[in-house]
C-alpha cells in the first residue's frame, strides 16, 4: 500500500532522492599517501598535499578507484572507462586547497539500480543516477576555545564515493531500506564500513511532495543526515513542512536545510540565492582517469557473492525461509559464520543455532559476530556431537553456554565436565529399575491408564543420572519395563 500523508487538502505523495557520501575503505587517501585511520590524534594523518602546501600535487590512489568500480559493479551500474576530476572551488578553513577535487561532469560510475525489500514483503527497484569519486574536507572544531576555531585535517583528502539515487523513493521506509541496502552491499564488497556514527556514511536527503499523479514540485535538500533513523525522520518532517506550506498557499523554495535531531524539524541553511558558485573546471593537475576494460572485468570476476544472490541461494539450496535467509545474509560476517557452521551439516539446524542460541549469547555478551566468543568451527563441532549421540539436545545447550563463557571447543568441555551422554543400557536399566521400585504407587496408576505419568518416570531417571542419559534409550527401557 502506498505511503501517503494526509493534509488538509487531501493525500500527498512524498518524493525522495538520496545523495550518499560513503568513505572508501582504503589504507591511504585519494590523492596522497597519508593514512586514513579513524580516531587518530588531530592533524596526525596529514601530508603536505592534504594540507594544500605550495607546489604539492595530487596523485590518484589506484586502490580507491578499484573500490569505486567494485561498488559500481555491486550496484549493477555502468562503469565509465573515461572519467575526469574537476575542481569545486570554495573557501573554508578546513578546505586547505580552496577547492575540492570531485568528478562533477564525468563520474566513474553511471546508471545502476538496487532492489529494496519492504516490511510488507514487496520489493522495489531504486535507480542509481551515478557514483563519483571525490575527496573529503577536514573538520572545523568550534567548541574548543571561546574565540578560535580549531582545524583537524585528518579527514582532508580521504576518498569518498558520492552515490546519487534517482528520485525513486516514496516513503521514509523506502529511504531507510535503500540506505540499509546500500550499506549492506558496500559492507559485502568491503568498499565502505558504513559506520554512520563515525561519519563513514552520511546522506543528503532531497525531498519534495506532490499530489498523486502530478509532476515533480520544488525539492529541498536536507544536508548531512547521519543515521538511517534520522533520514526517515527528516523525510517525514520535511514533507510535512512542505505540505503545510503548499496548503497555506505558499511556495516551497529550493534551498539547503539541516535536520535538527533534537527537535525533529528541518531548518533553513542557505537559499538558492546564497548558493555558492563553485566555479567547477577540470583539474589541470590530473589527467583524465582512463580504465582498462580488462581490469574492470578482473574486478568483476573477483567480486564476492552479494546479499541478494546469497539470500536466494540459502532459500534454494538450504531450504531456509525468506526471513531466515534474510537474517543470515544481512551481514557478510554472519553469512560467513553460518556457512562454516552449516558446511556438511543440517542447514536448518545450523540456522536455528546461529539465529537462536548464538544471537542470544552475542546480545548478552555485547559482542558482534566477528568477535564471537564461540568460533563457527566450534559451533559446528557441537552440532556434530549431537549428531553422533555424544550429546543430547539438553546437554548441548549446557555445553554451548560453557563455550560462551570459556571460548573453549566443545569436545574439551565435554571431557572436562564429564557431560558425555550415557548410552550404556545396563546403567540405564539399573536406574530405571530403581526409579520404578521407588515409585510403585505411580507404576500402578500408570498401568491403570494414567499415560501422562510416563514423562514423570523419564524425568526421574534423567535426574538420577544427572541428565546424562541418552533420552531415546531411557524411553526404550521404560517402555519395555512398563508393558
Amino acid at each position: 500500500m502506498s505511503y501517503r500523508i494526509e493534509g488538509a487538502t487531501g493525500h500527498w505523495e512524498v518524493v525522495i532522492g538520496l545523495e550518499v557520501h560513503a568513505q572508501i575503505l582504503s589504507r591511504a587517501k585519494l590523492f596522497s599517501g597519508a593514512p586514513t585511520a579513524f580516531g587518530a590524534e588531530p592533524n596526525s594523518q596529514v601530508s603536505f598535499v592534504d594540507a594544500g602546501f605550495p607546489g604539492m600535487l595530487p596523485v590518484i590512489n589506484r586502490e580507491c578507484v578499484a573500490q569505486a568500480v567494485r561498488t559500481g559493479l555491486g550496484l549493477n551500474a555502468e562503469i565509465h572507462l573515461w572519467s575526469r576530476f574537476d575542481r569545486k572551488n570554495y573557501f573554508y578553513a578546513d578546505l586547505p586547497q580552496g577547492y575540492q577535487i570531485s568528478q562533477y561532469a564525468h563520474p566513474v560510475v553511471g546508471k545502476g539500480s538496487v532492489e529494496i525489500e519492504l516490511s510488507d514483503g514487496t520489493t522495489r527497484t531504486i535507480g542509481i543516477t551515478r557514483l563519483h569519486l571525490e575527496q573529503d574536507a577536514g573538520k572545523s572544531l568550534h567548541d574548543q576555545h571561546p574565540t578560535k576555531s580549531f582545524i583537524d585535517l585528518n579527514r582532508s583528502g580521504v576518498a569518498l564515493m558520492e552515490i546519487v539515487s534517482e528520485p525513486d523513493m516514496r516513503s521514509p521506509e523506502e529511504a531507510g531500506a535503500y540506505l540499509a541496502k546500500l550499506r549492506q552491499i558496500m559492507r559485502y564488497l568491503g568498499t565502505c564500513d558504513g559506520n554512520m556514527d563515525e561519519g563513514s556514511m552520511r546522506a543528503d536527503v532531497n525531498v519534495s511532495v506532490r499530489k498523486p499523479g502530478e509532476g515533480f514540485r520544488t525539492r529541498c535538500e536536507v544536508k548531512n543526515v547521519n543515521s538511517i533513523r534520522f533520514v526517515m525522520q527528516a523525510v517525514e518532517a520535511e514533507a510535512r513542512r512542505q505540505i503545510e506550506l503548499w496548503e497555506q498557499g505558499g511556495t516551497v523554495e529550493q534551498e539547503t536545510r539541516l535536520f535538527d535531531t533534537a527537535r525533529g524539524v528541518t531548518r533553513s541553511m542557505r537559499s538558492k540565492e546564497d548558493a555558492h558558485d563553485y566555479r567547477y573546471f577540470p583539474d589541470p593537475d590530473l589527467p583524465p582517469l582512463v580504465l582498462d576494460a580488462a581490469w574492470v572485468e578482473e574486478l568483476r570476476a573477483a567480486l564476492p557473492e552479494l546479499p541478494d544472490a546469497r539470500r536466494a541461494r540459502y532459500m534454494r539450496d538450504f531450504g531456509l525461509s525468506a526471513y531466515d535467509a534474510g537474517v543470515l545474509t544481512a551481514e557478510r560476517e554472519t553469512a560467513a559464520y553460518f556457512e562454516t557452521v552449516a558446511a556438511g551439516r543440517d542447514p536448518k539446524q545450523a540456522a536455528n543455532w546461529v539465529m537462536g542460541d548464538l544471537f542470544a549469547a552475542l546480545n548478552r555478551t555485547k559482542r558482534d559476530i566477528a568477535s564471537s566468543p564461540v568460533a563457527a568451527a566450534d559451533l559446528g563441532a557441537l552440532l556434530d556431537l549431537m549428531a553422533d549421540g555424544t550429546l543430547s539436545g539438553k546437554l548441548a545447550k549446557e555445553v554451548f553456554e560453557a563455550m560462551v563463557d570459556t571460548g573453549r571447543p566443545p569436545a574439551a568441555i565435554v571431557e572436562e565436565r564429564g557431560l558425555r551422554q550415557v548410552t550404556d543400557s545396563g546403567a540405564i536399566e539399573a536406574a530405571v529399575d530403581a526409579v520404578l521400585a521407588a515409585h510403585a504407587d505411580k507404576v500402578a496408576e500408570y498401568r491403570s491408564g494414567k499415560d501422562k505419568l510416563f514423562g514423570f518416570f523419564v524425568g526421574q531417571v534423567m535426574k538420577a543420572m544427572a541428565g546424562k542419559a541418552n533420552p531415546a534409550l531411557v524411553n526404550e527401557v521404560l517402555k519395555a519395563r512398563l508393558t
Binding site: P54, G55, L57, Y92, A93, G98, D277, R279, Y280, D285
Partner: protein, 493 residues
C-alpha cells in the same frame, strides 16, 4: 681565469682538470652577487653559507672520483621552486615566513647531480608578469643599457627576470626558470642569454609554486645553448609525484646541440609578422632564416591560422587556473595572516589576500574567477579550451611539413621601467610569440642572435615538436654558432 666568465661546460672541464675548485667558483659567484646584487636585485635570498658548504662537499666528491654531471656548478634558483629549509617567496608578501619542509623535484635532481645553489632569484609575483616589476621584493635591473640612454633602468623581462639578469651579469653561469606564457624565453631574449622551455611534462612540477598548472614548465637559463642542454638533462625526467609528468626517457640533449640543421625543414609561420613589430626584429628574423638556409636547412612558409587568438586564449586559461591555484594562500596554514581584532574567518581571508597579493596577482585572480563563474564559463573558459585545441592542431598540421619553427622571441627589445606600466594589455602583448608553445605544450628555445641599434640584445625563438628538445637545441645551436653572439652587458662581474 675569471671563474665568473666561465660557461658551465668550460667550468666543468676546468673542475675536471683541477684548474678550478667548486669552492673557488662558488666564492667568485658569491663575491659577484655581493657586489652587484644590491644594484641588480636579482636575488631575493642569497644562501652563501649553504653554497660554500655544498661547493666544498662537491670538491670532496670530485676528489673521490664521485662527481656528478653538474658537480660544483653554481646556480640561481627561481624563487618559485620550493627548497627545503630555504625561504621560498614566489616574490609575494603572502608567503612571508614560509620555509618549505620539502624540495621540488627539479631542484632535488639538480642537487643530486652536484649543483651548488647560490640563492633564490627574483621574479614577478607568482610568476605573473613580463617585467619583474610585480615582485613584492622590487624590480630587477637589466644589466644591459641603451646606447643612447645608459642611465635608464631597463627591465630584464619576466617572470624569471632575476634568473635571466643573474646569468647575463655573470653572477652565476646558469639558473632555473619557469615558463607559463614566455617567462623563460622573453627574459632570456631581453638579457641576451639562452633559455629553453621544454615540452609540457618533461620536467616535474612537483614543488614548484603553481601559477597555471596546464601551462607551467620549468627550464634552464645559461649563456650558451650547450649549457642549457646540460642543465635540462638534470632537470628532466618522469616523476610519480606529478601526474602530468611524462614517462619517457631523457635523451643526451648536449649531443644534439652540435648536430647541425642539414636537411631539416624550418617553418616560418606567416601569422607571426606582428603589426608594428620593429624593422630590426624582422631583419634579424630574416637573418636567422638565412643562417639556417646556409647551414643546409630548407625554409618553408607555414600557416598557424589560429595564432591571433592565442593571447586572448592564454589570458583566459592562465588566470582561470591561477584563481583556483592561489586559493590556498588564505592565511590559515602558512605564510602571511592578517587578522584584526574581532575579525571573522571571511574578514581574515579578505584582509590577508588584500594585503598579501599585489595588484597584478589580484587582477588575474579576478579575471580567472570571472571566466569560471556560472553563466560565463561556456563563453570564456570552455571557448578558450576549444581555441586551445585548435591552436594545438595548427601546430600538429605544421609538423607534417616542417621539423621546427623559427620566430622572434619577443616583439621588442627590453623596455624601460615605467613603460607599458599603465596598460596591462600592452604588457600582455610581450607574450604574443611565446604563449602558443605553452598552449600547445611544445618545447621553445630563445637564443641570442643580435643587437638592436641601441645595442640591446634580441632573441630568436625555435619551437619544436612535442618532446623534440633535441631538434630545438640543434636549430638553436646552429643559430648560436652562425650569430657568433659575443656581446656582454654593461653591468657584469
Amino acid at each position: 681565469m675569471r671563474p665568473t666568465e666561465l660557461t658551465i661546460a668550460e667550468g666543468l672541464a676546468a673542475l675536471e682538470r683541477r684548474e678550478l675548485s667548486a669552492a673557488e667558483w662558488a666564492a667568485a659567484c658569491l663575491d659577484a652577487v655581493e657586489r652587484l646584487n644590491p644594484r641588480l636585485n636579482a636575488f631575493i635570498t642569497v644562501t652563501a653559507e649553504q653554497a660554500m658548504a655544498a661547493a666544498r662537499a662537491s670538491d670532496a666528491r670530485r676528489a673521490r672520483g664521485e662527481a656528478g654531471p653538474l658537480d660544483g656548478v653554481p646556480l640561481a634558483i627561481k624563487d618559485l621552486f620550493c627548497t627545503e629549509g630555504v625561504p621560498t617567496t614566489a616574490a609575494s608578501r603572502i608567503l612571508d615566513g614560509f620555509v618549505p619542509p620539502y624540495e621540488s623535484t627539479v631542484t632535488a635532481q639538480l642537487k643530486r647531480d652536484g649543483a651548488v645553489f647560490v640563492g633564490k632569484a627574483n621574479l614577478d609575483e607568482f610568476a605573473m608578469g613580463s617585467s619583474n616589476l610585480t615582485s613584492a621584493y622590487g624590480g630587477v635591473e637589466n644589466p644591459w643599457k641603451r646606447g643612447d640612454a645608459p642611465g635608464v633602468r631597463l627591465v630584464p623581462g619576466g617572470s624569471s627576470g632575476g634568473s635571466a639578469a643573474a646569468v647575463a651579469a655573470r653572477l652565476v653561469p646558469g639558473a632555473t626558470g619557469t615558463d607559463t606564457g614566455g617567462s623563460i624565453r622573453q627574459p632570456a631574449a631581453f638579457c641576451g642569454i639562452a633559455g629553453i622551455k621544454p615540452t609540457y611534462g618533461r620536467c616535474s612540477r612537483y614543488g614548484i609554486v603553481a601559477f597555471a598548472s596546464s601551462l607551467d614548465q620549468a627550464g634552464p637559463f645559461a649563456r650558451t645553448v650547450e649549457d642549457c642542454a646540460i642543465l635540462l638533462r638534470s632537470m628532466s625526467g618522469h616523476d610519480p609525484k606529478d601526474s602530468t609528468s611524462a614517462d619517457r626517457p631523457v635523451p643526451d640533449f648536449r649531443a644534439a646541440v652540435a648536430r647541425g640543421v642539414k636537411g631539416l625543414r624550418i617553418g616560418v609561420p606567416r601569422e607571426y609578422r606582428a603589426e608594428g613589430m620593429p624593422a630590426e626584429i624582422e631583419a634579424l628574423w630574416q637573418q636567422g632564416l638565412a643562417w639556417l638556409r646556409d647551414g643546409g636547412a630548407e625554409i618553408v612558409d607555414v600557416s598557424l591560422p589560429h595564432t591571433r587568438h592565442a593571447l586572448p586564449t592564454y589570458y583566459v586559461v592562465a588566470p582561470a587556473e591561477a584563481s583556483s591555484n592561489l586559493a590556498r594562500y588564505d592565511g590559515v596554514r602558512f605564510g602571511r595572516r592578517v587578522l584584526r581584532q574581532g575579525d571573522d574567518l571571511r574578514a581574515m581571508y579578505e584582509a590577508t589576500r588584500a594585503e598579501g597579493f599585489g595588484r597584478e596577482v589580484q587582477r588575474r585572480i579576478l579575471i580567472g574567477t570571472y571566466v569560471l563563474s556560472a553563466g560565463y564559463y561556456d563563453a570564456y573558459y570552455l571557448k578558450a579550451q576549444k581555441v586551445r585545441a585548435l591552436i594545438a592542431r595548427d601546430f600538429a598540421e605544421a609538423w607534417t611539413k616542417v621539423d621546427a619553427l623559427l620566430t622572434p622571441t619577443a616583439p621588442s627589445a627590453a623596455f624601460a621601467e615605467g613603460e607599458k606600466q599603465d596598460d596591462p594589455v600592452a604588457m600582455y602583448l610581450n607574450d604574443i610569440f611565446t604563449v602558443t608553445a605553452n598552449l600547445a605544450g611544445l618545447p621553445g628555445l630563445s637564443v641570442p642572435a643580435g643587437l638592436d641599434a641601441q645595442g640591446l640584445p634580441l632573441g630568436l625563438q625555435v619551437i619544436g615538436r612535442p618532446f623534440d628538445e633535441e631538434g630545438v637545441l640543434a636549430v638553436g645551436g646552429a643559430i648560436e654558432r652562425a650569430a657568433g653572439f659575443r656581446a656582454a652587458p654593461e653591468v657584469r662581474a
